[in-house]
Symmetry: C2
């Protein structure tokens, strides 16, 4: 693991869910010096308190710490929620000896319930004492229905890039509907970092979907400790790679997912149209359930392109699934074999290539299937 | 049952699915005289052959018969599909002694496979011989995953209105994603009938959703045998009532549905915005699975309004569920009880009222929950 200089990590159990649930649910990233801060946030009009506060801090552009919790989203909590977020920022700032407005809050979990600020603030000294070198402890502290912690790193010359994320459900288009923190020690201005992040997310976090839902808390933060001078194009590539790998890990750990599905759309009028078509297929329940059951029902794919709102001539569509040509000129291909397709669909990795015309537009979306377990995970009422 | 004068019905088994599947899968509606014809079709860009042909006939405006089948959609079948549809129209026309271009084709079922026209045309004489007074035999012949036939009727003075439909899955916004035939013996011009249908579907067939998918074959046909003079406003109401009742039956029979859910949005800028918000909630997998599991997780509803693209102030939102006030000013209501909501969500009928502001826009959407059975029905591969 390549850990960038200047960052330390910790986590504690703070009883965010309930005092008796014993797992790490509050995490801290500490920047030993002032870090450059960038970030992107949910486009949901219902924004959690940490999103509202975090957006202000990102606009200012520097940070010394990230204080995160799982189990409670601090969303739909009104002015009280903002107050609670600031109270915890203050407590962490005091303990760390930094300014309160350089502690970025991150929350994920249930909506509409106040943060248990008393239980949480009392644990902040322990959280600060626990600071160490292992980013995975932080990654574990933000997990909700995730089945594994997500940490990715890259070396870029003498610099390093690391990313941690949580996801699993509510992974939707238009910003990743997740929490992610990307850190580097490369020297970057605020403007550099903003540009890199905006460019990197379009075909990564904005190209993945599990269930089409978009959360109130989605946040990707990026920080640079500015300690190592490296070629900026290389750093950009390193950050983009880390962000892409995190996005793919989120899809692999999609709630109840049994398959990893890549959907390439080519030949669209432009990339935006290609994305619209790919997302329509990726979010179709009929496609997702067919993938789960290895049902070689390719008509569902074509139908989902058809209602995507994209202009195209159905009689020019070609579809291949994991290399097997299924549709040509909008009809079943000559060499199509239902058995072959059924067998290919049993694989855990499926690639759907859809050519909808002769335009230059292309887009790739990553998604998962829809299984019984998705329904189970999201319907069970745990009192 | 009030059956309009001038219509007769029949169905036979024609082995559309496979020769060995013994159930009625080809149906006929015969108009004893020339009927006025209206209709609306899927907005999917991938249109099945019967949609392409049917649209031409509706534009002309008269019909003598409807020839329907289940088990095969005759979609993505290219010119051959159009040819096959016309071949069956010819065969029925010959047997009925009418013009071929007055036989309207309707198909539903698997996409991308040619109609078994030989097996079907050989059964057309039997289909014509079987013509009788019972519309339910026709309703049964168009069923796919439906668990019951859908027939609704109304008396309007001396006139009658009857509607039959099939649905179950692929029930989505923007045209009902289903097959439906509405018949009346009231005297109506083509213009009258067109107007009535267009007005009737907006808050009925265009206000229901099961899974957000939209099929290649959706068609609602309306026919008048023009035998009884009645007040046109009364006829309009009768037809609108029949169409609304059919739409609600489709939701009640949604694939795997265990609940019937009404979503009212009020206070939007206009009706279109209200519909957008209501559809976003209705199609959210997280909302649908929470409803299935009676999980009192109201944050998912608010989040789905938030990402609907509708402009509103989250701090002015109020939500009630089956009469229990859950959210006020965007936060959990004072009197909210998790237990009460959990109990209310166990009911088979659930009503979600969402007030998003002070505007005049309102819309009601009808939907179902998402259960294990939805996944089962749509993932099982039946060779």
């Amino acid at each position: 693991m390549n850990i960038p200089r200047g960052f330390r990590f910790s986590a504690v159990n703070a009883g965010v869910r309930a005092p008796e649930v014993r797992r790490a649910d509050m995490g801290l990233v500490f920047c030993e010096g002032q870090a450059v801060l960038s970030g992107v946030f949910t486009r949901n009009r219902v924004k959690a308190a940490p999103v509202v506060v975090g957006q202000e801090l990102v606009n200012r552009g520097t940070a010394r710490a990230i204080l995160a919790n799982a189990g409670n989203a601090n969303a739909c909590t009104g002015d009280q929620g903002i107050h609670d977020a600031r109270l915890l920022m203050d407590a962490a700032a005091r303990e760390l000896g930094v300014r309160s407005d350089e502690v970025v809050p991150l929350s994920t979990g249930v909506i509409g319930i106040r943060l248990p600020v008393d239980r949480m603030s009392i644990r902040i000294p322990a959280l600060v004492s626990a600071l160490g070198d292992d980013p995975e402890v932080f990654a574990r502290s933000i997990m909700t229905t995730d089945t594994f912690p997500k940490v990715v790193s890259r070396a870029v010359g003498n610099a390093s890039v690391i990313g941690v994320a949580k996801g699993a459900g509510m992974i939707a288009p238009d910003m990743a509907t997740t929490l992610a923190v990307v850190m580097t020690d490369a020297v970057l201005t605020k403007q550099d970092l903003d540009n890199i992040i905006i460019k990197s997310i379009e075909r990564t976090f904005n190209a993945i979907t599990i269930d089409g839902d978009m959360s109130t808390n989605d946040t990707l933060l990026a920080l640079s400790s500015n300690q190592v001078i490296e070629n900026i194009a290389d750093i950009e590539k390193g950050i983009a790679d880390v962000i892409r790998d995190l996005a793919l890990l989120l899809v692999r750990d999609g709630e109840g997912a049994t398959k990893f599905v890549t959907i390439n759309v080519t030949g669209a009028a432009d990339d935006r149209e290609a994305k619209k078509a790919a997302m329509s297929v990726a979010n179709s329940l009929l496609v997702k359930t067919a993938l789960f059951g290895a049902d070689p029902n390719w008509g569902r794919i074509l139908a989902a392109v058809g209602y995507s709102g994209v202009l195209f001539d159905p009689e020019r569509v070609a579809i291949s699934i994991s290399g097997h040509r299924v549709v040509e000129r909008g009809m079943e291909s000559e060499g199509f074999s239902e058995n072959t397709l059924h067998t290919l669909l049993k694989n855990r990795e499926i690639c759907i290539d859809i050519r909808i015309g002769d335009g230059p537009g292309t887009f790739t979306v990553y998604t998962s299937d829809l299984s019984y377990d998705y329904v189970k995970i999201n319907s069970e009422y745990r009192t």
